[in-house]
């Protein structure tokens, strides 16, 4: 699955998803339950705003010295017997991983959840050389066997499916013959996956945080699948976005706590695993060979720009979980594996405005995202910056809008023009007014009156009333 989801133009995707009552119910339920849970663990921790500031400082500091920490990480991984590969592009990352796979003559690969491998579209590259690639995160697994249905949420990728749909996929693809009880479904997946872990030649993981001082990687899961992926196969390949790094264990601890609280409303997840290099002599398990692939794929071009704060992201999806737009249109409407507010900021940066020009507008700028973000990314401000670029640099704004904004500038910069405009607004609107309201508006008002009444402008403006009153003296 590349970053872009091929599911038609923006409005077609939105219209389709607005019809999907099941998906909308699932998303609303997740958001409402998650809201309460998240507030609970935030309160339990205490001093949330101070923790956010600390987390922001850590992320900012790391990004400002990214070259230093990447070098330190690379040295320490190498010191511990691992291999490090810096991939500037998706192709370079995929080529490197393919080469290792061919060298190992690997037939089966197990993977734990990784958004960056989705972004670089790794799986088809490995499948093309005859490898059986198995996703082991339950959500990712369901999507994979359902003919590569795209993820609709960066943490809960199969959020848009219900248990009956999952049972049907299991029946179709795995010969499953039991009920839609989640416990039975999970048990079946676990049994199937267990065989895959035991026979896999390579384990591929993502990386929540790499720790520069020790050359370690941190994996955060609730299913424990990443532990099997890294314990059993002889070769481990970890793929990370180049910004997913912290200086020391101390910062890792802070960010993991922010991550689990923000992502799933838990103090800690069931498994938080820190791995350093390949297995040492005497270790009972772990890979004989360890590769760390550090992916740029457009990230370094965000560094040093006004969008740099987006690289602070720790992929917790707190912004997605509070977004009222995501709530109604779901993840697939974004046309990118990165959905919700973070997706609306990140997708145009990594994939360009041609494919994602609507996303910066798919927000009411309510700032719920900015408020929820545990590392204080000013998401709604970055959406405005995108809009500014679309208007000023990309020239992609509609002509009518440009004219309206030109009129806005003239009218609001000059008090006399403003007074003139507001004075004559009632007569301009008069043909459309009925019973003091506008039900079928002209021009840009049409979109408003599709679903709402628009008030008729008052003949006596506030300023007329005020100035008259002032002239006549205040009534007692």
């Amino acid at each position: 699955m590349p970053m872009k989801i091929e599911n038609g133009p923006f409005w077609k995707r939105v219209e389709e998803n607005l019809q999907n009552d099941f998906m909308r119910g699932a998303v609303a339920g997740m958001q409402d339950r998650g809201y309460v849970r998240r507030l609970g663990v935030i309160e339990e921790l205490g001093h949330w705003e101070e923790w956010r500031s600390l987390a922001e400082q850590i992320r900012k500091h790391t990004l400002e010295h990214l070259d230093y920490y990447l070098m330190q990480l690379s040295e320490n991984v190498t010191k511990r017997g691992g291999h490090v590969f810096f991939a500037q592009t998706a192709e370079e990352a995929n080529d490197y991983i393919r080469r290792i796979t061919l060298e190992k003559q690997a037939k089966k690969i197990v993977k734990s959840k990784s958004m960056v491998t989705e972004e670089i579209n790794l799986n088809p590259v490995l499948e093309a050389i005859g490898c059986d690639v198995v996703e082991t995160d339950l959500g990712e697994y369901i999507l994979q066997i359902d003919d590569h249905d795209p993820p609709s949420h960066i943490v809960g990728p199969a959020l848009h499916k219900n248990k009956e749909q999952i049972r049907d996929v299991f029946r179709r693809k795995l010969g499953y013959d039991k009920s839609s009880d989640p416990v039975e479904l999970a048990r079946h997946a676990r049994e199937t996956l267990r065989r895959d872990y035991l026979t896999a030649d390579i384990g591929i993981t993502g990386c929540n945080f790499a720790i520069a001082e020790s050359g370690s990687i941190t994996l955060v899961t609730n299913e424990g699948n990443a532990d099997l992926v890294t314990a059993l196969p002889k070769t481990q390949i970890t793929v990370m976005g180049m910004e997913r790094i912290v200086p020391t264990f101390e910062e890792m601890e802070v960010l993991v706590s922010m991550l689990t609280r923000s992502a799933v409303g838990q103090k800690l997840t069931s498994y938080i695993t820190v791995l350093t290099g390949p297995r040492d002599e005497g270790d009972a398990d772990g890979p004989e060979e360890f590769h760390l692939v550090i992916v740029d794929n457009g990230r370094s071009s965000i560094l040093g720009t006004e969008f740099q704060p987006v690289l602070q992201c720790i992929r917790c999806a707190a912004c997605v979980n509070v977004c009222p737009v995501y709530r109604h249109i779901g993840g697939h409407s974004y046309g990118s594996i990165y959905s919700g507010p973070i997706g609306a900021v990140l997708s145009p940066l990594l994939g360009g405005y041609d494919d994602y020009k609507e996303l910066p507008y798919a927000s009411s700028l309510c700032a719920a995202c900015t408020e929820a973000c545990p590392v204080k990314i000013p998401l709604h401000e970055l959406l405005i910056k995108h809009r500014q670029i679309i208007v000023e640099r990309e020239g992609k704004a509609p002509v009518a809008e440009k004219l309206a904004m030109k009129a806005f500038r003239l009218g609001t910069a000059s008090p006399s023009l403003y007074r003139f405009g507001t004075k004559f607004a009632p007569s301009a609107f008069a043909p459309f007014v009925e019973d003091g309201r506008i039900t079928k508006g002209p021009g840009p008002l049409k979109a408003w009156t599709e679903s709402r009444e628009f008030p008729a402008p008052n003949k006596e403006r506030f300023r007329d009333w005020f100035l008259d009153r002032q002239k006549g003296g205040k009534p007692s």
Binding site: L18, S364, P415, Y418
Partner: protein, 244 residues
């Protein structure tokens, strides 16, 4: 105390009653109201749409209009939040940065001004019925004003205030969002109205005419028996004789 009113373009043209109520309320509390005639719009419609150059011209006009004032009070959380953003927008602009800081520092949203500056929570208002309050996003999240309107409403005689479920959720206005993303905005406002109905409110009260135009316009289209009121109108309601 001299208070300069920034009435906002929506109130100037559409919701004049909210403006009148603001004036009467503040006067009753002992303020002398000044209305700088050269005021236009805070610039938000252009700014949020990405037309920063255009927005800045409106903002400069606002700074000129309110240059000679002590307190700027506006019955809109969203417009107040926009004015508070001016220093950030004009950061590094030698001509305007200081003026932007001055205006931002003396700007208050109406309920914020009543509670924080005038130190009053009971304005002697009365309104009978069951109401719920819409916490608009910019007012709570950008301006940080959460408690003031509720404290004021708590003292309105006869008013039963029901908490709005999912109050933190946007009503779907979002300025140009409401027309650019009409079908999505419609779903958002419908969900908001379903929560208002859930608590069986006679009145929906808000402190931002953008949100009220959106929620009210949809309520009117659907023919729901819910009356939409700006908080200034509520606080200026005096069905009973003042007992002070």
């Amino acid at each position: 105390m001299k208070v300069s009113l920034f009435v906002t373009c929506l109130i100037d043209l559409f919701y004049t009653n909210a403006g009148k109520a603001t004036v009467e309320l503040l006067e009753r509390l002992g303020c002398e109201i000044d209305f700088p005639e050269a005021q236009t719009c805070c610039g938000q419609p252009a700014y949020n749409s990405g037309y920063v150059k255009e927005a800045k011209e409106a903002m400069k006009q606002m700074m000129r209009a309110f240059a000679d004032t002590d307190y700027v009070v506006t019955p809109s959380g969203s417009c107040a939040a926009m004015l508070k953003e001016y220093p950030h927008i004009f950061h590094g602009d030698p001509e305007w940065e200081d003026e932007a800081k001055r205006l931002a520092a003396k700007t208050y949203e109406l309920t914020q001004f009543l509670v924080d500056v005038l130190k009053v929570e009971d304005v002697g208002a009365s309104l009978h019925g069951r109401a719920t309050y819409h916490t608009s996003c910019h007012m709570t999240r950008l301006l940080g004003v959460k408690e003031a309107p509720l404290r004021l409403l708590k003292h309105v005689k006869g008013l039963e205030l029901a908490p709005l479920p999912n109050a933190h959720q946007c009503c779907g206005f979002g300025g140009t969002f409401s027309v650019k993303m009409g079908p999505i905005s419609e779903q958002m406002v419908d969900e908001k109205i379903s929560h208002i109905e859930e608590v069986e409110a006679d009145y929906l009260i808000g402190a931002d005419c953008g949100c009220l135009m959106n929620i009210g316009g949809r309520i009117e289209r659907l023919g729901k028996p819910i009356r939409v009121m700006h908080i200034a109108e509520v606080l200026n309601q005096r069905n009973e004789k003042r007992g002070e």
